[in-house]
């Protein structure tokens, strides 16, 4: 009924299956892979050899405990010197670059401060030129250290159309219909929303293991969100879910004008700048003031927390999500935000009576978006290792598989 599958497609599929088995059971042997996958030992051995020769897999010694009969088998693991992913967060106030290995471990994380706000002379072309330079330097460092990189994923604070690689709107950057580069430093590039990627990072390696259904809320200059349902990102029909910074919390004409053009958006009362204004502090001063118990600062964060809670309760009622994770600035503000936020959720969420909505601090801090981006790049390699193996044969120092779109 279906079209015939060629030799190469089968190898591609089986290679990914072998790699996924090692990722799920580090230290597994060839025989163990055969047992778990139903592939023959000969096929497994052939595929493992290919993955070893491309340094995607590595042999980590003899299996413990040794099997009862026969010689002990060789344990396999993802190679820590295998293909890495480079994640780049294009923030409103900085760039962040993160390099992770196949297991999702962070090798390097670096930030480069900058002012990328719309209307401050930082037009898209200039910001993208900065990105280009930063990526080139990062790849140069990686090459010097002998670390192969397989792909780049950009995290953007806005609505990213994955199919065309276009930022349709990023109000705080002042971007509209900006085409992202398809290749950087010779590597394929894909892109996604920064809160979505941060949510993925929390899901994949965060400090709340077992948490598979949550709304990740990222509060920085803008306020974004990523919705995780049953262990996977929910992208919405066209990949544009999560714009909770534009949930309306003041529908009257008194609502402040938002950068998106509308009035009364959550961002205008709970974004970083609004918080600083309400607290009467400059950039970087809010944390220390709160820690010192400054009444105005505490009051400002509490008031924002109530409106954030109102907005989140609306979203929780609409999409039925059982937990909230606070990311970005909100993770640091969590001790002050949580009480008013939980109060609003308890009062407004219909399911809260029998199933209270916990508010949890994000565990990856501001690293989450770049980290999620880097892991997305390595996960693309895990999903199709043959593309990496083949590209590496052509060009031994820098391989270029094709990271599939994050949005499905």
């Amino acid at each position: 009924m279906s079209s015939p599958v060629g030799q190469i497609d089968i190898r591609r599929h089986n290679s990914a299956l072998v790699l996924a088995t090692v990722a799920a059971s580090p230290g597994v042997s060839r025989a163990g892979i055969a047992e778990r996958t139903g592939l023959t030992k000969t096929t497994v051995s052939m595929l493992v050899e290919r993955l070893l020769s491309a340094d995607v897999l590595t042999e980590t010694g003899r299996q413990h405990p040794a099997p009862a009969r026969g010689r002990p088998a060789t344990a396999l693991d993802l190679s820590p010197t295998g293909p890495h992913g480079l994640g780049v967060e294009i923030g409103v106030d900085r760039l962040a670059l993160c390099l992770t290995d196949l297991a999702g471990r962070v090798r390097t994380y670096r930030t480069l401060p900058g002012d990328h706000r719309g209307g401050r002379g930082a037009d898209p072309a200039r910001v993208l030129e900065r990105v280009r330079g930063a990526v080139r330097r990062e790849l140069g460092r990686a090459a010097a250290a002998g670390v192969p990189v397989s792909g780049v994923v950009l995290a953007v604070p806005g609505l990213v159309e994955a199919a065309t690689g276009t930022v349709r709107a990023a109000p705080n950057l002042g971007w509209r219909d900006v085409r992202l580069p398809a290749v950087l430093g010779g590597l394929p590039v894909s892109a996604a929303n920064e809160a979505d990627l941060a949510a993925c990072a929390e899901l994949w390696t965060g400090g709340h293991p077992g948490l598979r259904d949550f709304l990740y809320v990222s509060g920085e200059i803008g306020v974004g969100a990523g919705l995780v349902v049953d262990g996977a990102l929910f992208p919405g029909s066209h990949g544009f879910a999560g714009e909770i910074g534009h949930v309306c919390v003041d529908p009257t004409d008194a609502g402040a004008r938002c950068r998106c053009g509308a009035r009364g958006c959550l961002e205008t009362v709970a974004g970083r700048e609004a918080l600083q204004r309400a607290a009467g502090v400059a950039t970087g001063e809010l944390g220390p003031r709160l820690a010192a118990g400054d009444a105005r600062a505490v009051g400002a964060v509490r008031a924002a927390g109530r409106l954030l809670g109102t907005a989140l309760a609306s979203v929780v009622n609409a999409v039925g999500v059982p937990a909230v994770v606070l990311g970005g600035d909100y993770a640091r503000l969590e001790p002050w935000l949580r009480p008013p936020l939980e109060g609003e959720l308890a009062a407004r969420v219909l399911t809260a009576r029998w199933s209270p909505v916990p508010v949890l601090p994000g565990t990856l801090g501001r690293e989450a978006p770049a980290r999620g981006a880097a892991q997305s790049a390595t996960r693309a390699t895990l999903a199709d290792p043959e593309a990496y193996v083949a590209a590496r044969r052509d060009q031994p120092t820098r391989a270029s598989p094709s990271p599939s779109s994050l949005r499905r």
Copy 2:
């Protein structure tokens, strides 16, 4: 690798496959089914005979056009006298009962007015006693007409926990933790949220063919919603998505108190009673006043439309859904609601600049919830016809398959 599959499981699976093939291609022949499914002609013939003998399928004559060679094959179709589904909407102001055949055609639709509002003496037990009586009478009529019924699905304006058959909360009914009957008139019962079922009815048989991604908004005494993503209901993590009646549109202390206990919920300004109050009309008067151009009525609906638009824009930004379908009272109010609603969506939805969010009237009117419920019951039979066939053999007049949960 997987556990062995017995003869009965295979027949169950193949029987559903055969039936799905007929449902997708009415008039198909046995040979056509074999071709489309990859099953042998012998297997198809055996399964078709079983389904014919249980009146799930019917032969509708010779196929047209006749095949070039050999004798013309017999065309098969879903039997119009086969198992029907009974949907029962437990509304705040009525019961509605709908009987549909396997193809989703409505055989009967009946409403029984009533006042089921919480705090008016209509406690859950009394309302459920009404439901029991109405179902008994409906099944009696069906039996007298020789119409077999395979299951009952209840549509409830609240949060329904499918696994336990419990209404956790239905503020407008005043219900809390109400256990629904598992059996009515000898038939298995399942239940779901009424807006979700109405959304499914629009998806399955509504007048907007091809519309596979939308937010169905049902405005009656309460305001609910069903979210349809890629042709399937999105139930949220625990099946409680869609409670947009409790999106907050007035976070100040001036917000009206909602039946849910919170303040400023959308329902308090855009529910039926709020609209009637603002328009200064009694039940049933709003439509005629609007048609007559009454300024206060028109103004009231416009003002509600703006706040409905604000709330919907928040939801659309949060979940990324590309169209809105107006159901319940809102379908009839659509000419007056749509302009302010579209205005708010255009101003507030971030994706609207390149992808405006159309606002469409629901095409099934107030029949949608009961119809969706009835179709859910017949779709359960389509998904597992062998259960119906087996039950019918035991008890020829009334069969009882087990409708699987709607939520998934």
